[in-house]
Symmetry: C2
Subunit: 370 residues, 2 copies
């Protein structure tokens, strides 16, 4: 089985590039003296996670209880569920904990704290940049929640924050500032808890951009990042990676041409790429993605410019004088995605390749659902 004969559209993942991306971040965090708790929400794959930790299950972050259950079944025992807990989900958390999994939940309200049962460990979510949930670091509710957790017998492990706005940072200085602010917000909140007599041993921060730009992680006990295993055009657009670091692409087949419009039509529509157009808010809009040949070489200024459910349209970037490549019906190309998390979610498995070879080495399933 190789890139030329698997049914299209399908996801190709370059295992070597994943390993390089993992090595880069691990080395950075080793130098900064902080642990990595990878977020498995991007790849949702036991096999990709095995590349992160040499096959020995380490600490992970999940975005759904379905991921927690799948990774627990694969031997993972230290799992942080990093979406604010809904009270009805506590029963599934308890069931996993009874199977020996140290599953940690997240919350930012006394209502949630009151819904926990004794022994469940929790982090309090801190809002460092106004991105979505969490308490501002100085919010007096921090201590109210800590007391509610004490009352229920739950286990206050510490604090967590995520610099979600770093995805919109412009340049290295803003990225470093976002990382500093992320660290400072979390450490300040932990110190507030400790000053009031709570242990709060965990200070968890992270996003792929800040993880790659932090220069000081004093006081931080773990960094979460997920997207970095594959990277994508949004990450390249903000300068966190290069285009050649993108490990995942969608392989599609040419099914037609509109010579009058300068279009090449493919069998890869939004069902295979997702509707995510994250680069439309960046300095360079990459459409639905950049286009490479099966070997990974970019076609100059060729973009996937539009998508129906099962049709993609490739055309030359507006304003460019590049020529449309000659791609006959049946030719295959690869689309580099805007947002790896969203594109991967459209597929049930990865087709694993190594550089310089079209051979599919393995197919790796993804976890789905909630």
């Amino acid at each position: 089985m190789n890139l030329h004969d698997v049914e299209t559209p399908f996801l190709a993942v370059d295992r070597h590039t994943v390993l390089t991306n993992v090595h880069r971040l691990r080395s950075r965090l080793d130098r900064l003296g902080t642990a990595l708790r990878p977020h498995v929400k991007t790849a949702k794959s036991i096999d990709v996670a095995a590349l992160l930790d040499d096959g020995t299950p380490g600490p992970i972050t999940v975005s759904t209880l379905a991921e927690a259950e799948a990774f627990a079944a694969a031997g993972y025992r230290d799992i942080l569920y990093a979406v604010g807990i809904a009270p009805h989900k506590v029963a599934r958390v308890t069931a996993l904990r009874e199977r020996g999994v140290d599953l940690i939940v997240l919350l930012d309200s006394a209502e949630q704290a009151a819904s926990l049962t004794a022994g469940i460990p929790a982090l309090i979510e801190i809002d460092c940049d106004g991105h979505r949930g969490g308490l501002r670091p100085g919010d007096p509710a921090l201590l109210t929640i800590a007391r509610t957790l004490e009352d229920t017998g739950a286990d206050l492990r510490g604090v967590l924050t995520h610099a979600g706005e770093s995805y919109f940072a412009d340049g290295d200085d803003e990225l470093r500032a976002a990382a500093d602010n992320e660290r400072h917000s979390a450490v300040r909140a932990a110190e507030t808890l400790r000053a009031a007599g709570h242990e709060a041993p965990v200070v968890s921060v992270g996003s792929t951009p800040t993880a790659h730009f932090a220069t000081d992680l004093t006081g931080v006990t773990e960094v979460r990042a997920g997207n970095f295993v594959f990277f994508d055009l949004v990450m390249a657009g903000i300068g966190v990676c290069r285009i050649e670091d993108l490990a995942m692409s969608v392989v599609v087949t040419v099914i037609g041409h509109r010579h009058d419009k300068g279009w090449i039509l493919t069998d890869g529509g939004w069902m295979s790429t997702s509707r995510d157009r994250g680069t439309s808010r960046q300095r360079v809009d990459q459409g639905y993605g950049l286009v490479t040949d099966l070997g990974g070489t970019l076609y100059p200024d060729l973009l996937m410019t539009d998508a129906s459910q099962e049709h993609g349209i490739l055309s030359i970037r507006p304003g460019s004088t590049a020529a449309l490549p000659d791609l006959p019906v049946g030719a295959r190309v690869r689309i580099l995605p805007n947002h790896a998390c969203a594109t991967a979610a459209q597929h049930d498995r990865y087709h694993v390749i190594e550089p310089g070879s079209p051979t599919i080495r393995a197919t790796w399933p993804r976890v789905r659902g909630w």
Copy 2:
């Protein structure tokens, strides 16, 4: 099992509303004297399709060979695969035909025609509005393709067109004009083929907007439409349906609040709604969707305004003076989607309800992949 206890996020489908939507379109087409060949790409569900045809498998349209194979296994024998055929897919087409399925393919080039084997029926795709692929109705390549099909022994069944630009129509007059143009383009191309001695018995047109606005279908032998089973906010925005005709929604749970920002946070992010923001190009931008209570009553001017992977943000429409409803942690609401095809694709099953009751009557699986 009911709407209050299924794990969130999940898809709810109101069976009664689907039946009403189906009855409306069937009645229209009966009056116009044309057959319906429903497109199953929206629901991708054998069970939803059974509501279209009283359980007797009729003619259908599919967007993938995976759908063709699943529906063939369920007894469907008249299947149109309405995405331009890639040569490598012909083997799967042949395998289905050998199992007694009249599977019809689509093409718009002599290269594709030459890739077919004897006996495979094909429609030639006509471009009526510049939306994506197809030949313009007067293109001389029409006859070249017809001759190539004769040479290969394939079976030229006729022509197909899809008024894809009708999704961007503004008002009833433009919708009627799009329907007229769709019919006229297809009939003209069929007449060109017939004048040259080809039978071309099939004249297939369709899109959900034009199917609901056509006033004359003379010369058309079948109408394709898919979205109408569920409808969505894009269809409501162009006036094809009312908000109360939307049959599908995403049920989510409140997990937090940002009182300072006027936000309600839920456990339904883009993973459950998709990234499709079709209404952003319409007169009224509905964000990621309108919000109702579990009974289906709209909260005034409450929108899902932003989405992370597993977080949704609900807030009041900009400029509105409506009050944010009091929805405590644990409360459940329903999100009406921009684009039913894209939202449904994020899920593996439907939870089927009837009006006025929270009881889940059934769960219906979806077909996935290619």
